[in-house]
């Protein structure tokens, strides 16, 4: 039995990797070089603090994935030799505004209660934070540290996954743009732009923004929209930054990555000057010593957002064997997707409870 996976980004490949580890046969169909790809443009965080403030089960699911990450990274390294530079020493969020900090503390406190108290984080004032991160500037009034957070090199992850899927015997076809799906129970036939076809008994739609078009053919609403995010990367610097934040991290090659904006402007992945300047200002506010540092590149990428921003895990009610997966935190959730989701895909007994993430909520 072959499972077709539509989408060769981090989400699709993680599921493929997990299925292959269970001995299943998979065929991954991946699009073109110029397609919108969150897997190439994301910030690279394995991030927990502040996620799921209004949805404790999302917080728990993310946390569970973060816990699975070390083993997942190790699996990939063993199989491919690629060290994807996972670091989970904790993360820091920096604040320059008193009210924002207070609001965030309140939100984390309420989330901590909602998840039963196990939600470690620490509030640091300017001097407390300065001991942790000596480079912060005077505009930083304080921050939040949580040992739950971390980061990874998302591009090495993408490469490692591509390599792992092939090494485990998976069929990964790139440049394979899916233009149509003919569906029946446990029988799916996919049409490609070049006229080729691919067949499988199960199908996972993990096509990011492409899902909105393909979803209805499998009986999904697939209500996803693009949300643009812009990111900056500096020249390589000597290492100084131990902890990632939601907006600043030093990548394993030495560059400081600065992000990320949010813009509801549709499927537009062009960077713009106003946003670049705003991100640069934030970076220099937090770390004044970055002022003379060169920006080497900026980019914009598109987040794949559901209406409430949470993931969707949906089994088709129309065709047996069809699954729909989408989320905007494909890196944080990658370990869960590889280790837990395959059971949900094949429908075995050890299925994680994903009922809070069904499409029925929309």
């Amino acid at each position: 039995m072959t499972t077709l996976i539509i989408g060769g980004g981090v989400v699709g490949l993680s599921i493929a990797f997990g299925l292959l580890q269970q001995g299943k046969s998979v065929l991954v169909l991946d699009g073109g070089d110029g397609d919108f790809r969150a897997s190439r443009g994301n910030f690279g965080l394995v991030w927990i603090q502040g996620k799921g403030v209004d949805c404790p089960s999302y917080s728990n699911w993310s946390r569970r994935s973060a816990g699975l990450w070390p083993g997942y990274a190790e699996d990939l390294k063993k199989l491919t030799g690629i060290d994807i530079s996972l670091s989970q020493k904790g993360g820091v969020d920096y604040f320059t505004d008193e009210t924002e900090l207070k609001d965030r503390i309140a939100a984390l406190e309420s989330l901590k209660q909602a998840v039963g108290g196990d939600y470690p984080f620490e509030v640091l004032d300017h001097s407390g934070l300065k001991k942790l991160v000596p480079e912060i500037g005077p505009k930083v009034i304080g921050g939040l540290y949580s040992p739950m957070d971390g980061h990874v090199n998302p591009l090495l992850l993408l490469q490692a996954l591509s390599s792992a899927v092939r090494r485990l015997g998976g069929d990964l076809r790139t440049g394979a743009q899916v233009v149509g799906i003919e569906a029946a129970d446990r029988a799916f036939s996919v049409r490609l732009a070049n006229g080729d076809r691919a067949e499988g008994e199960a199908i996972v739609l993990a096509a990011g923004l492409g899902a909105s078009e393909l979803g209805p053919e499998l009986g999904f609403k697939a209500p996803v929209r693009a949300q643009q995010g812009q990111v900056l990367i500096t020249e390589r610097l000597p290492f100084f930054l131990n902890y990632p934040s939601g907006t600043l991290r030093q990548v394993n090659e030495g560059g400081v990555q600065i992000g990320a904006s949010k813009a509801e402007i549709g499927a537009d992945d062009r960077e713009d000057l106003g946003t670049i300047a705003k991100l640069a200002r934030h970076a220099v506010d937090v770390f004044p010593h970055l002022a003379p540092v060169n920006l080497v590149r900026s980019w914009a990428a598109l987040r794949v957002m559901s209406p409430d921003g949470l993931p969707i895990y949906q089994r088709s009610t129309k065709y047996e064997g069809a699954r729909f997966v989408t989320c905007h935190s494909g890196i944080t959730l990658a370990a869960a997707h590889a280790r837990l989701l395959p059971d949900w895909v094949v429908g075995s007994n050890q299925v994680p409870d994903l009922s809070d993430f069904s499409e029925a909520r929309f």
């Binding site: 790139t174 500096t234 000057l273 670049i276 220099v284 920006l295 590149r297």
Partner: protein, 463 residues
Amino acid sequence: MSRDIYDIAIIGAGPAGMAAAIEADRRGASVVLLDEQPRPGGQIYRNVGIATPRQREVLGQDYAKGDALVTALERSGAKHLSDITVWQITGTGRIAYSRKNQAEQLEARQVIVATGATERPVPLPGWTLPGVLTAGAAQILMKSGGLVAEDAVLVGSGPLLYLIAAQMVAAGSPPKAMIETQTGSDLQAAMKHLGGALRGWRYLAKGLSLIAQLKRAGVRRYTGAGDIKVLGSDRAEAVSFTWKGRELRIETDTVLLHQGVVPNTQITRSLQLDHRYEEDQRCFVPVTDTFGLSSSPIVSVAGDGAGIGGAAVAALSGQLAALGALHRLDLITNETFETSSAPILETRAKELAVRPFLDRAYPPSQQTLKPVDTTIICRCEEVTAGDIRRYAALGCKGPNQAKAFGRSGMGPCQGRYCGLTVTEILSAENGISQQETGALRIRSPIKPVTLGELAAYQEEEHA
């Protein structure tokens, strides 16, 4: 911050940009010309305005031809902003640039991109060693550094290689040797274009005269050379190569590489204009009409940036691009547009006649188009040809995926010296055309800019 608005902004003050600025100004448009260098001229006429008699003697008559353009530009009313780094152009004609470490911007109704050419990448073993430069770099050093390479070995092929060698001879420092990659069969393939090329006979005569000069000066030439390597641990020490079945080695601490020039498409690609792979010149060129108009209604491309034609063609293209822009802006009548452009078009066609012959006689060498696995192809991130082949095996179809996998094109040069090679390797590995394989997407900033400068930017605008 109030922004200046111009009818026409021109990027690059080489022959194309200067000619465009002069033409547009002469016909009443408000014109701004932005350039990286302190003085107009581009690379070909670099520093011509302040060249010493000795430099003029060494560099020759073709260099001195730049005087006329530079003088005309200086006399024109076009605003010339020198020492400028343009780091973003938008599809609406907004140009962001740095001047004296300050971010500034302006707007234009029509933009003419005249950013010329860069040397084609020459990925050979050892090409990253100190002491290895492009041949063009050696010429720039004559123009703006007052320096000539001593006991240098020239490697590669193309008319510019002969010109630079002859200039070195004139400077009293002839190259130690020329290791040339073009072969007899390249010449044979070129011969069928000889008829057309004879319309541009002056270029051919000039080329033959350069070669004769080199012969008279006793410069040793090894044509049809292969398997070229620059040897050395911390800097260039020697070049080894095969020639007529023999393995040779020449000691030198200065190696000058040249495999022709290719359009600098960083800006046109950052604007996501349509590009096509030009088979004859083995490079990507922006798709343009006769007047250089690109797929954007407000952006034209003039000079070598639109396809390699040389300095004379560039100046003519600059004039044509200016006429096209003036016409779109209704600053000239239909009649003026047509009568003014007709003779320029005719001259340009004559000047271009020699190109097909030259393109075939001096193609990029197979060794640099298909580098061996261990050769570094991305100088910034030190990615090898073998890495790219490995990514192809993992399913990489295009250079953007290869960049995500292995960082080729992510360094400070933004793919200027690896992009074409990555496309060639992926195309060969995947059996897909270069056109379909595509080119790197170029993002802002076109050149690095400090965070501090960017951070100050918006505040100014709000003030």
